[in-house]
Symmetry: C2
Subunit: 329 residues, 2 copies
Amino acid sequence: MISYKNRKVLITGGLGFIGSNLARALVAQGAEVTLVDSLNPLYGGNIFNIEDIRDKVTVNVNDVRDPFAMSYLLDGKDYLFNLAGQTSHMDSMNDPQTDLDINANAQLSILEACRKVNPTIKIVFASTRQLYGKPDYLPVDEKHPIRPVDVNGINKLAGEWYHLLYNNIYGIRACALRLTNTYGPGMRVKDARQTFLGIWLRLLIEGKPIQIFGDGLQLRDFNYVDDCVNALLIAGASDESNGKVYNLGSFEIIGLKDLAELMAHIESSSNYELVPFPPERKVIDIGDYYSDFNLIKSELGWEPKINLKEGLKRTLEFYKTNRQHYWSD
Amino acid sequence: MISYKNRKVLITGGLGFIGSNLARALVAQGAEVTLVDSLNPLYGGNIFNIEDIRDKVTVNVNDVRDPFAMSYLLDGKDYLFNLAGQTSHMDSMNDPQTDLDINANAQLSILEACRKVNPTIKIVFASTRQLYGKPDYLPVDEKHPIRPVDVNGINKLAGEWYHLLYNNIYGIRACALRLTNTYGPGMRVKDARQTFLGIWLRLLIEGKPIQIFGDGLQLRDFNYVDDCVNALLIAGASDESNGKVYNLGSFEIIGLKDLAELMAHIESSSNYELVPFPPERKVIDIGDYYSDFNLIKSELGWEPKINLKEGLKRTLEFYKTNRQHYWSD
């Protein structure tokens, strides 16, 4: 069984959706957890995300682009879960330089800091299935050609490859997980910057119709955040993962219209409507996507445990109780 | 026949090796040519490279990272040959942030400037076979997986993909040529920052032995600069090339020891020695490499014309006459 008891762990993006859930799991195991977050209002950081573990973690608010802060924070840590990133595809097109700064430049700066002050650290980098672009085949495995469809995809790829390169050249142990759509308590729901599912959950709770772009037949896979956190922990604890890239994915593949229906079924008052793709969305739409996650299953023994219905239920419950901390009406 | 007569052309890296040779060809066709170069002493810019066409071109010395200068320079141009770049693999490992700045950040900034002030420009981007890393198979075609082995490769890839993305998303016509080893008059020979062949030529002229790393059996392909310039001109003049990536390559594939012998044969006083790989070189060595260039041959009708012996002869003649402008003893 993996144990992070007494291990020193740094999480970038630690007040964000996945980072805060990961922190909770690490605190439960007795790890010494430090969270870095910029609290940039466009991103996922939200201090309420760690309300229940506030006195059990160290919080350092700074931008990961700050090399001096990062050097100080990385020094002496056993693990880095490197989750900070700009995730919005639209923002990456409207402000490509900032996306480059955070998703590539800052990553290189973090790795350089590790090389100088802490070359024995183990790093798990949160990458994205977005790198694959529009799939040539389904399910998409790690051998699928890389073909980013937006600036975000290109920069995330550079960030991912710096990690693998520093593993290969300098022996700084690092691996990358290519996350698919992740959802659960703590996700950004005030807008679609993290995933469209965030805004859907919000609309559902507000009793407004969900808007689906296109015909609603686009297939997707989803991971409940606890499953994603579990993958991060497993990848961090294994040296088998060093220098490798793994897809996450799900046993359940679902069309967007069916997903909306499932959500409407859980939250009986809701409905949805099909609307045409906004042109700036259409041009970066990738059609159907779902991952082959056999590699992480066979090498590291990970598979998702929480089904979509159960995960959505838990998530809706969380936001019904805590909505005031995530959006204002 | 391609003609750039009276067309307004901007060349970044215009005082460098390939840029200056391209400028000469464009001037001969009656184009209005503007050259941008940083004259950063670590890179390839050398004002002597345009000695013979100095009064037929406009020179603007600035760093491509300067967005205001680039906006001004791009405005009203018909073509951009985007050749400025940090090319040294070792420098990219020692100073990865500068490599990122120039090979990725500045490229994005140039494309943003095109989007704002000149969306109808046609861009040809000089990319590199370095992106392929250690080949899975030979010759390497454009479908070969991308696997950069150094920071330079990752950043050049991001730079290349921004161009393709801006073509696909914004309709800014752009293509990329993945250059292999290019040599000829005007190349940097004072050190190995552009290619090992530069330093070899210098040693040859100085009557010193050429040093070959390893067993000298590593295969490579080479393009004489006139062939490379011709490919750039053809790609720029064609709309078939938009959104595409093409390898350049050669009919002649040669081992490094055989290349040294060929050079020794041309310059009879010379010799060579095999020396062990320096460790920082070994870790980024890619073994044998040569390109499949059938795509550009079939789609754009390009193929190399100058054979290696002839090209090396011309190059040696040039440096024997002009050595004082390229290195000091």
